[in-house]
Symmetry: none
Subunit: 227 residues, 4 copies
DNA sequence: GATGAATGAGGATTCATTCAT
DNA sequence: TATGAATGAATCCTCATTCAT
């Protein structure tokens, strides 16, 4: 799990951050510290992802996260002021990962690529991402607790909403802003609803279900964009 | 909230139970007791609905439910063995209410009523129900905790899934069973995803959003039923 | 169980109490009430005996006693001010029953009946009594809770102690009072310790174990009375 | 109280564990931690001993134990999963202490030491132990609750039974196994019954009562071993 | 920085007892 | 008097967070 933490994403990020070793030696110490700190944070977020995905936000204990990360509870609190902050950081990380993942679809030429094609191309990676990082949905959909979880989702939601709205604006520039907003909200909500199906499905059913999700969204767009 | 508890449903049930007042006095006592017991249960479920909706399942305390119901914690445990049982009873009640609410749509003549019309007619009441009983979604969507919440949803989900599948079968009898199943699952998931939007929306936006939900589902059906 | 409640003892006692019907009619009503009350009390004590024997004093709930007696908890409190009072009444009843049971052995002629014969004759009925009324030991031995249980035992213990002391005095009139007292205390303690063995044993082992108990006590008496 | 915790037993154990201070520093940390943990456990068991002895098992609350030990309830649960586990650990500790205490009497030469002498020598320390650790009897005799207390006693009882049986076998090798078993059971029961007398007695009466207990057991053995 | 023991407020649940009917 | 629902203090146990080492 958290393929993006241990895999390309974090790897790449850390690499880039650590890379320029031509700087003055005076900065070496802090860099190392910082690097170690970031590794710790990555460890903790990775562990948190596992535990959140397995037990849900509410049932997850900070001790469980620390234990899974192989550190003491005290260390966890060196990096995060409280449980919510862990979830927030994780959500932030997921949001960043998705931004990066979907960057190629941010600026399409609507004349060259149909909406159908755009969706078809982006849905696959999105689904894969969520299957690899089930905690993302666990937080994304999460509980409806009053204070924190809802708020955690906010940034993730906002960015996804913006992405969808931009996509719609691209393919239906004439649509009034209000409809665009509503359309994006409904699309996001439906997508949020269907993703768990994809995440929990057997691997072999994934392509068919992805297709189905595409149909759902495209069917809606048909009607949304219909004059 | 829990309009159906204080409103038609429970009211009707109690009415019927209490009605034949010409019976011997011997039966009066148990009746009264039972009536009081059912009132208490309704009180508690109503209170639970409020608190679950406000705080989510995990953050809800049994003491809070009892306090909201105006009874002592001990009384709550006279009627429910534990917190889960309250949620389960509430879920059951919601499932029953929805069954009752949607009974008229169970046997439509597809020749006389279009799918569009059927959806248009049923979506309104459904949306109203969820706006009146926000805890239904709080449980329906709930967390992803391993043991209980997921299980609570099961009956509610199963019945809704069956309803959708039946509707689809009615309007697309030629669809293979597997596609029917998938279609119902996706529809349910999307509907589950969008409902929170409807529940949290300002009253004035409800009709437009309901329309939008209808479009979403119809758009999907278009593609699902397309040859 | 509580053979003496439903059997001869209570029957006889109530009979005697209720017997003299030659009194004025004005007293009839209260008598009836009192009779009903005593039946209730007997019901409750019987139930308490069962439950104490099964679950021990501490784990026994007043509701369980009431339920077993087939009455409401409120009714129980009409007859007993609290849980301890039930145990106390039960202990009292057991003490009375044992008094009655052992009355024949109160005034023996030491010249005619040897100590060995006296013990041999009385141990059997005592063992039978405890096997029939296991709650007696449950209270008699009971816990070592600070306030109540120890106190409950007091009367039962005192009477049994007195009986043993009297027996010893009968067969060893020359023994100084202090030794008599100590001897009775040790005998009582040993007997209290061994009885549970007898109560829990299979029926077929009872005679042998009774014999063993006799040997224990006689062996001690041998040394106690030795010059 | 718990003289053996603060006294020879635990003291000796810790001493041995801590002794070889020539080891590498790497092992120092865990040692210290372990030492602190064991001290905490000893503190808690000591406190539990006090409270069990004062209030009995059932009436003892975990918070009372924690308070008596000067720690928070949470700390108690760091070392023991629940109340029963505390009692079990205490029982285990008592059983071990008694084993250690009575080890010298495990292998006597019956030709050199009479049964009377063996008993006379071992009874004193046993009595002292129980006077110093009254909670041992509180657990040993305990209630008759169905699930836990009876089970707690089991190991303590089993070991004591075995000790008695071995002693009898030593001095009466020709006794059939069944009689040996019964004899040990009766001896144990009687001893269990009389010990509370010794524990609650004034210090000055202890020698006389110990003598009396010896007489009781020896008197029984006389008859048991008689041909 | 790291550790993990310690904290203590808080939550689910029980049960002796009361009281309206 | 009987009923049994209602009470609420008390219990066991958890876990987010802190702090001495």
């Amino acid at each position: 799990m958290l393929a993006f933490v241990n895999g390309p994403t974090i790897g790449r990020v850390t690499a880039e951050t650590t890379h320029p070793s031509t700087e003055p030696a005076a900065a070496e110490r802090p860099r190392k510290r910082q690097a170690r700190g970031e590794r710790r944070i990555a460890q903790l977020l990775d562990a948190a992802g596992h535990v959140f995905a397995e037990s849900g936000y509410a049932a997850t204990t900070t001790n469980a996260i620390a234990a899974r990360a192989g550190v003491s509870p005290g260390s966890l609190y060196q990096y995060f002021p409280n449980k919510d902050a862990i979830a927030a950081a994780l959500a932030e990380f997921y949001a960043d990962s998705l931004d990066e993942l979907l960057a190629p679809f941010a600026a399409l030429d609507p004349a060259a690529v149909s909406l159908e094609a755009a969706l078809g191309a982006s849905l696959g990676p999105i689904v894969r991402f969520h299957r690899d990082n089930p905690a993302c949905l666990a937080l994304f959909i999460g509980g409806n607790a009053p204070g924190h979880v809802m708020d955690l989702q906010a940034p993730l939601m906002a960015r996804t909403h913006a992405r969808i709205e931009a996509l719609l604006a691209l393919y239906a520039p004439e649509l009034p802003a209000a409809r665009l907003e509503t359309g994006a909200a409904v699309t996001l909500a439906a997508y949020k609803g269907v993703l768990p199906l994809l995440v929990e499905a057997e691997e072999e059913r994934v392509p068919a279900l992805t297709q189905e999700l595409g149909d759902l969204l495209l069917g809606y767009f048909d009607r949304l964009l219909r004059p």
